[in-house]
């Protein structure tokens, strides 16, 4: 699965404004809503679902990255977005360091396999130090998209 298969191109945030975990998640969900991918009435519910998942264990998995996610009945297909913070967001990460790259995933509830494949794809890219370095240097949504599609082209599909 490629990142470009599910990342919403016009929902990416090259300069996250939020400086807290809660605000960062809200900002990214709002971006997906504004792009037309989420129902207006479900925005708060989705934020709550993501925060509930965070309570089970931070998705800040270290090395400055976080993968906040949830499954929700209101989405019909897997969608995602990428946020880049240039100041760092405290995320209760495993290594207690702030996060600078956030990849949000929202999946339908009845497709765990697709969710896992998306996580696998995201992880493959995020473990690449060069990819993360370049992502943190982007300053526009277009630059992020170019980086994602180029990275997709270098990875074996599944």
């Amino acid at each position: 699965m490629k990142l470009s298969d599910f990342v919403v191109r016009n929902a990416m945030l090259p300069n996250l404004v939020a400086t807290t975990k809660d605000a960062a998640i809200r900002e990214m969900v709002e971006s997906l809503r504004a792009s037309g991918q989420l129902q207006n009435t479900e925005q708060d519910n989705i934020v709550k679902a993501i925060m509930k998942r965070e309570q089970l264990g931070s998705t800040g998995i270290g090395r400055g990255v976080a993968i906040p996610h949830t499954k929700h009945e209101s989405v019909e297909r897997l969608i995602g977005t990428v946020g880049v913070s240039h100041v760092g967001v405290p995320f209760e990460s495993l290594d207690n360091e702030p996060v600078f790259i956030l990849v949000m995933l929202i999946s339908p509830q009845d497709r765990p396999g697709e969710h896992l494949r998306a996580l696998e794809s995201v992880s493959r890219h995020l473990r690449d130090d060069m990819f993360c370095r370049m992502l943190r240097q982007t300053t526009s949504a277009e630059a992020i998209w170019e980086l994602l599609t180029e990275a997709d082209g270098h990875q074996p599909g599944r």
Binding site: G57, S58, T59, I61, R63, P112, L116, E120, R127
Partner: protein, 135 residues
């Protein structure tokens, strides 16, 4: 090799397999440590597969031991302490994975980490994992 496990026979972990055991001479100081390499095949019972939560639980628990922790899935081997590497394995529910532990506390680490991998619901951060021997 990984594969689908009969859901009626969720023997979640196999008996430990001793790969090697060797005394390692002291590098510094008088202490001589015994290195043990153990493997155990584990069936992933989490309905979402080996995703972020169990991978993070495994990484957190692994840091409490001196031993090196590896996961083997098909032809791939990854460091169990690296969450992203573990997730890239894409292990689906019902599939088998081999947990390998190498170090002086391998026996204890193997039991604890295998239980986390096999659990349908991994422990919360900071939550003590249950000792399988106590059950």
């Amino acid at each position: 090799m990984s594969g689908k496990q009969d859901s009626d026979n969720l023997t979640q972990t196999s008996a430990p397999l001793l790969i090697s055991s060797a005394w390692r001479g002291a590098v510094t100081g008088p202490t001589i440590m015994k290195e043990i390499v153990l493997q155990r095949t584990v069936v992933i019972c989490n309905p979402d597969g080996l995703h972020i939560r169990p991978a993070a639980a495994l990484a957190e628990a692994s840091r409490r031991f001196q031993s090196q922790v590896s996961l083997l899935y098909g032809e791939r081997r990854v460091d169990g302490r690296r969450v992203l590497d573990v997730i890239t394995l894409g292990v689906e529910p019902g599939h088998e994975i081999v947990l390998e532990v190498n170090g002086p506390d391998a026996e204890e680490a193997l039991d604890v980490l295998a239980a986390i991998l096999a659990s349908a619901t991994p422990p919360l951060p900071g939550e003590p994992h249950s000792d399988p021997k106590a059950e």
